[in-house]
């Protein structure tokens, strides 16, 4: 394969006849006809993936704006609602998802260095960690249903005293004093709507990612990748890391509002 590349590289200005003569043996089988070299093809792929991720950043950006606006309007409700969420599952998920980014990065590296077995194993580890994340998310969603914290007809929100607080009346607790129970319920529902849309869209991205990971793992297992061509692994990696970055912002914004009170 490297011989073929040396050969192709030796005739950078080859005319049509020369190229026709080269066809069939001169280049990597994964090189598409509209690219000159593998590195040009790779560069185009990476750029295209980043343009897609740009649209994804804007997609989530709209939701982050909605969050910012309503948080500034109804800060007390956001603080009260955020405090009702358990931190531990969110923190565990943060660790799990960053670990899955590590295993994803290691599988891309393994494919860069022609380690087929390691590529497959790191991809499988990424699938396992992604599934653990979704499992914990299911536990968290079930908890929201149990507490009637799901927006809709049966939504209920009352200030629940934290472990540090005595069983005081809501009127005596910090910021919440300015809001009546009706307004608190109405405005905390906004927080939980954003919570479910943002974490739900994030989880949907993870489900899509895991499906893609299964396909890539199968391709890697079949020996479809080498150090010259492993674009699907690399692109899946970029997607997976993007999903990780979304969570890096979601975790403090949803779980850690006004925890110090």
């Amino acid at each position: 394969m490297s011989d073929a590349h040396v050969h192709a590289a030796a005739h950078p200005l080859a005319d049509g006849h020369g190229l026709a003569a080269d066809h069939g043996h001169a280049h990597h089988p994964a090189l598409q006809h509209h690219f000159e070299t593998m590195s040009q093809q790779r560069e185009a792929g990476v750029l295209g993936m980043w343009v897609f991720l740009l649209t994804e950043v804007l997609f989530f950006g709209g939701l982050f704006f909605a969050y910012t606006l309503y948080r500034s309007w109804y800060f007390d409700a956001f603080a009260a609602a955020s405090k009702s969420i358990e931190i531990l599952p969110g923190l565990i998920n943060t660790v799990v998802l960053i670990a899955s980014s590590l295993t994803m990065a290691l599988s891309v590296r393994a494919s860069q260095t022609n380690q087929r077995k390691a590529t497959v194993n790191w991809l499988l580890a990424t699938i396992v960690l992604g599934t653990v994340f979704l499992g914990i998310k299911v536990y968290e969603y079930a908890d929201k249903f149990a507490h009637h914290h799901v927006p809709g007809a049966s939504f209920q929100f009352a200030h629940v005293p934290g472990p540090g607080e005595a069983h005081e009346e809501p009127a005596a607790v910090g910021h919440v004093t300015t809001m009546g129970p009706d307004e608190l319920e109405r405005t905390t529902q906004l927080f939980f709507s954003l919570y479910f849309v943002m974490t739900g869209l994030h989880a949907l991205h993870m489900i899509v990612g895991i499906v893609i990971l299964f396909i890539i793992t199968w391709m890697a297992h079949k020996g479809r990748f080498d150090s010259e061509w492993h674009a699907p692994v690399e692109m899946t990696g970029l997607y997976w890391h993007f999903v990780d970055i979304v969570w890096i912002f979601l975790f403090p914004l949803l779980y850690l509002v006004e925890r110090h009170n």
Binding site: L54, V57, Y74, L91, S101, L102, H241, D244, I248, F251
Partner: protein, 102 residues
């Protein structure tokens, strides 16, 4: 002809360690009363974490200038989105002002 940059393993584990430490700091800082600086600290740490992931896990540090510009543009567009939407909401009149300002 390997034009692709292969990072040493220690880079990946080092970045993972840094991300773990920063996550712990995020949680710790949330329990300290910093007043209006709490969200600033939380978001600053999140931006640092995202930057580490983008530069090292997503290899943007070793990517072409065109890719780097595309990455920066994505966040630039989000900044435009936020600026325009805030301008919109802050000039719509009473029903769209924060309840405390109505």
């Amino acid at each position: 002809m390997s034009s692709v940059h292969v990072s040493p393993l220690k880079v990946y584990f080092g970045i993972f360690g840094a991300l773990m430490v920063l996550s712990a700091i995020t949680v710790g800082a949330a329990f300290i009363n910093l007043g209006s600086l709490n969200p600033v600290v939380a978001l600053t740490i999140a931006v640092i974490k995202a930057t580490l992931v983008i530069l090292f896990f997503m290899h943007v540090k070793y990517s072409s200038r065109l890719t780097k510009i595309t990455v920066v543009m994505s966040f630039f567009f989000v900044a435009i989105l936020f600026a325009e939407m805030f301008m919109d909401y802050s000039t719509r009149g009473l029903p769209y002002l924060p309840p405390s300002l109505r």
